[in-house]
C-alpha cells in the first residue's frame, strides 16, 4: 500500500464513532466516520475507495445488512473487506451478514479499540 490505509467506520453511536476514529487515526489510518448507512454509501460513492470498512448492524436509515447488500452489488466495491462490529447477536442477522461476505463478525463489547485496530492491521498486512 503506497498510501495511508483508508478506512470507513460506520457507527451511529457518536461516542463509539469518536472512540474508534481516534484510535484508527492514532494507528496511522485515514478515517472517514459515517454516522449511518446512507452516509457510508455516500462516502463510497464520492471515492476514493477505502481499503477497509468497519460497520455496525443496527443503524438508522439503512441497516448494516442493507448497506452490505448494496456494496456487494456494485462491481468496484464488491470486494472491499468489511468487518462487522456490532453488539447485536441475532443468529439470523449474523448468518445473513456472513452470506454477503464479511471478514468477521465481532461483538463490539468483547473487544477493545486496540484489539480491533490490531485485527484490521493484521488483515491488511496479510493481503
Amino acid at each position: 500500500m503506497d498510501h495511508k490505509p483508508r478506512i470507513i467506520i460506520v457507527e451511529d453511536d457518536t461516542l463509539l464513532s469518536k472512540m474508534y476514529s481516534t484510535k484508527f487515526v492514532a494507528e496511522g489510518f485515514d478515517v472517514l466516520a459515517a454516522l449511518d448507512g446512507e452516509m457510508a454509501l455516500q462516502f463510497l460513492h464520492d471515492k476514493p475507495t477505502p481499503d477497509f470498512i468497519i460497520m455496525d448492524m443496527m443503524m438508522p436509515k439503512l441497516s448494516g445488512v442493507q448497506v452490505l447488500e448494496q456494496i456487494r452489488n456494485i462491481p468496484e466495491l464488491a470486494k472491499i473487506p468489511v468487518l462487522i462490529l456490532s453488539n447485536l447477536q441475532d443468529p439470523a442477522q449474523i448468518h445473513k451478514a456472513k452470506e454477503l461476505g464479511i471478514v468477521e463478525y465481532l461483538i463490539k463489547a468483547n473487544y477493545t479499540p486496540s484489539q480491533i485496530a490490531e485485527f484490521v492491521k493484521n488483515y491488511l498486512a496479510k493481503r
Binding site: M58, P91, T112
Partner: protein, 356 residues
C-alpha cells in the same frame, strides 16, 4: 340444489335480524325451543317477501318445516331448519328425535370447531409473545452493551497509554474501572447466553474433538495467572487416553476455562491439578482439584443453580453467578454429567464426564 338455484334464492346471503321476534329462527334461539310450521316464510321472513318463500316451498314440495335451536351449555348459538315433504301429522316422534339428536350433534361439533379456533388463536398469540420476548432480550442486550463498549473502550485506551503516560496510582484506578466494565459486559453476555441455551436457540458447531487438545490449550492460558498467585498448577493426562468427544469446540473450551478459572480464583495457596482419564471404555472424565477454601454440603447443592455465588460474603471474589449454571447446561447439552466434591477448608474437586 338445482331447484334452489332455479328459485334464485341465495341462502348464503340471507340475514335475519335478532330483532325480528316473530321469525321462527329467532324464536328458537330466544326460547331454546323447537318450532314447527307449514309456511316456510315463517322461517325466513323478513328476508325478501313472504311470497318468494311460499313460491319456493311450492316448487320444492315442502310441506312442513321444523326449526331446532342449537344449544351448548344452556346457551343458544344458532338454529337448524329441517324442511320435509311430509305433512306435520305424518312426522312421528322417532323422526323428530332423530332430528333433535342430529341438531345436538351439530351444536357440539360447532362448539368444538370454535374451541379449536380459539386454541389456535391462543397458540398463535403465545408464539408471537415468545418471539417478541426474544427480540426484547436481543435488543436489550444490544442496548446495554453499547454504552459499556464506550466505557470499556475509552478506559482501555487510557490503560494502553493512548493519551500519554498515566501516573501509577491513576493507572490502578483506571484498571479497576476497566475490570468493572468488563465484568458488566460478561454479565450481559452470560445472561444472553443463558436465555439462548434455556430456549434452545444457541447454535452449536458440533464436531468430533480431541478433548485433551482443548484441555491443554485451556491449561496453557492459565499458567501465568497461577504462577502469579504462587500456586502449583499441574496437568495430568492418562497415558493412551481415548478422548474423541462430539461437542462444540468453543463451548467446551468455555466450560474448561470456566472451571480452571474458578479453581484458581478460589485458591490462595497450594495446588490446582487438572486431569483427564477414562473411567470406563465409553467415558472420558475431566477433573480439577484445588486446595482452596472448599464448600459445605449445603453450598455444593446450590452451586449449579442460576445466580448462585459461592462464598459471596468473602468479598474478594467477583462473578456473575451464571458461570457454573451455563457450564452445567452445556455439559448436559453434550450428553454429559457434571459434579462437585468438596470439604470446607480443604478444597474442591469439580468433574465432568462426556461420552466418547
Amino acid at each position: 340444489m338445482e331447484i334452489l338455484k332455479k328459485a334464485k334464492v341465495e341462502f348464503h346471503a340471507i340475514e335475519i335480524p335478532l330483532t325480528a321476534k316473530e321469525n321462527l329462527l329467532v324464536k328458537a334461539v330466544d326460547h331454546k325451543k323447537e318450532y314447527i310450521t307449514h309456511d316456510l316464510s315463517d322461517v325466513f321472513y323478513p328476508e325478501k317477501t313472504r311470497e318468494i318463500w311460499r313460491q319456493l316451498q311450492r316448487q320444492v314440495g315442502i310441506k312442513t318445516s321444523l326449526v331446532y335451536p342449537l344449544v351448548i351449555k344452556d346457551k343458544s348459538i344458532g338454529a337448524m331448519i329441517f324442511s320435509l315433504t311430509k305433512n306435520e301429522q305424518d312426522i312421528n316422534d322417532y323422526e323428530k328425535s332423530i332430528l333433535s339428536g342430529f341438531t345436538d350433534a351439530v351444536a357440539v361439533a360447532l362448539e368444538h370447531a370454535s374451541l379449536y379456533q380459539k386454541l389456535d388463536e391462543a397458540n398463535k398469540s403465545l408464539k408471537d409473545l415468545d418471539k417478541r420476548k426474544d427480540e426484547f432480550i436481543s435488543v436489550a442486550a444490544h442496548e446495554l452493551r453499547a454504552p459499556l463498549t464506550a466505557v470499556k473502550g475509552y478506559l482501555s485506551m487510557i490503560c494502553d497509554g493512548d493519551g500519554g503516560k498515566v501516573p501509577k496510582q491513576i493507572d490502578e484506578y483506571v484498571h479497576g474501572a476497566l475490570e468493572g466494565a468488563e465484568r458488566e459486559i460478561r454479565l450481559v453476555n452470560n445472561m444472553l447466553n443463558v436465555s439462548r441455551i434455556e430456549e434452545n436457540r444457541l447454535i452449536y458447531q458440533m464436531g468430533n474433538i480431541n478433548l485433551s487438545l482443548v484441555v491443554k490449550q485451556a491449561f496453557k492460558e492459565f499458567i501465568i495467572n497461577a504462577k502469579e498467585k504462587g500456586l502449583d498448577f499441574e496437568l495430568k493426562i492418562e497415558k493412551d487416553i481415548k478422548d474423541l468427544v462430539y461437542v462444540d469446540q468453543d463451548r467446551i473450551f468455555e466450560v474448561i476455562t470456566n472451571l480452571i478459572s474458578n479453581a484458581l480464583k478460589y485458591s490462595d495457596k497450594g495446588r490446582v491439578m487438572v486431569s483427564l482419564s477414562n473411567p470406563s471404555h465409553n467415558l472420558i472424565k475431566f477433573t480439577i482439584t484445588d486446595t482452596g477454601r472448599g464448600m459445605t454440603k449445603e453450598e455444593q447443592q446450590k452451586l449449579f443453580a442460576k445466580f448462585y455465588r459461592a462464598n459471596s460474603s468473602a468479598g474478594t471474589v467477583m462473578g456473575t453467578g451464571l458461570g457454573l449454571y451455563i457450564t452445567k447446561l452445556l455439559i448436559e447439552k453434550f450428553d454429559g454429567t457434571i459434579g462437585v466434591e468438596s470439604e470446607l477448608g480443604k478444597g474442591s474437586l469439580f468433574w465432568f464426564e462426556l461420552p466418547i
